[in-house]
Point group: C2
Chain length 249, copies 2
């Protein structure tokens, strides 16, 4: 008997609300045998999970989740390893591919990467249109990237007048990076530059705030907050944060 070949879907579910999920991701949920993911993201996807086996685990268990998903795919199962937003943006896609390579499993099962709407773009849509021109995306978490590198990137991004999106701005243990980021930004940008804060985008407790670099730290900022810092062409019109792109009208 020839063993059925498995498939590993590396799928981004979007920010969390079901309407921002792609048709492809919905189809993957309908057609897979196993769903593997961080337990909060599995909860977000629950309405789509019927008879599928679910393997979920806690934060920072990324390697373990990849290993589980790969194990199931190697058995011939159809496995969805899910990330919130896009699987390729601070998600599981890269790590899963690295592990498949290390274990020399490229030929054992198929792999398909299903792009999703990254959380920053759902955040941007709620705020207005802050990403209309060039932008940089930087995570303030130093769990996997040394702070000196993050700091250097903040300097360059701020100097270059690109709009800046910050992921993972502040955790319970890591509370000072966002303050350092603010002081770097103030070296190059006006204090009243518009800043958008988007917490829990597309999820329960969604909160959208328009503020400025000076005032931003007065609001609640945590790991489920996306911060978008405007550039010199960003302004606020009727409570919408908009970066002008130079059209004449």
């Amino acid at each position: 008997m020839v063993k059925k070949k498995g498939i590993l879907f590396l799928a981004g579910i979007g920010p969390g609300d079901h309407k921002t999920m792609t048709n492809h991701c919905v189809a993957v949920f309908r057609n897979c045998d196993v769903v593997v993911g961080y337990k909060r993201y599995v909860e977000l996807a629950e309405p789509f999970i019927e008879k599928q086996q679910v393997i979920s685990s806690g934060m920072t268990q990324e390697v373990e989740r990849c290993n589980k998903a790969i194990q199931e795919a190697a058995k011939g199962k159809r496995v969805a390893l899910i990330s919130s937003g896009d699987s390729g943006v601070y998600g599981m896609a890269g790590l899963a591919l690295e592990i498949v390579n290390k274990k020399k499993l490229w030929d054992r099962f198929a792999i398909e990467i299903i792009p999703g709407v990254p959380v920053i773009h759902a955040a941007a849509a709620r705020l207005g249109a802050p990403l209309m021109n060039d932008y940089a995306v930087i995570s303030l978490s130093d769990l996997l990237t040394p702070w000196e590198i993050i700091e250097k990137r903040l300097h360059h991004a701020a100097q270059s007048d690109m709009v800046i999106c910050l992921y993972n701005p502040k955790s319970k243990k890591r509370t000072t990076h966002i303050k350092e980021a603010k002081s770097i930004l103030l070296q190059y940008r006006k204090p009243d530059t518009p800043v958008g804060l988007a917490r829990n985008v597309g999820r329960k407790g969604e909160a959208i705030t328009l503020t400025t670099i000076t005032m931003m730290l007065r609001y609640k900022i945590d790991m489920v907050t996306i911060i978008i810092i405007g550039n010199s062409a960003t302004h606020v019109l009727n409570n919408r944060m908009i970066t002008q792109r130079g059209y004449r009208f």
Copy 2:
């Protein structure tokens, strides 16, 4: 008689293939009266357009399209003004909001921004997982942004060791910017740094190429090509471009 209030949807249809469209965008197509867009994008959305009125126009007619869409919404219609990818990334969202503001029409109709999968993320998924760590997104088109600013951003992005995504790398008239970009990149990055080229992602004629900074100009590059330039942690495994994020496994 109270006039029915219109609504303007600023919707991103994703790269072009229907499976990468969000559920929300599909619902908008089903529930609107008028679809306004660049004719190629309207063609991509055609399977979703039934009885809706279609208003399409050519490239660089962005202001005209916004005006038409706003006019229809002001009449009380349900209007979808579409962009490819995400409406908030080099799309129509910002311009539409600016025009609504200038015409003082904020109270005349509702506005809803529907995020879509930006083309770079569909491109990244096809290439592997190149955007796993911090990245910069830069358009090489100087139609709306002076070249000196773009050049400065390229220098900063290249120095900061962020992955770099280039939109609009080369048009028929604008053929030298990509050469200048390449020489800026070579000032800071190794010549054999992996580069991914993704042409017509999700559309007819899709072509995915893995190359290097040195070799990238030997391939076809045009306005429907997305270029992703790796950083010092990007490598190629089994024809997949992957940026390592520092996990231990």
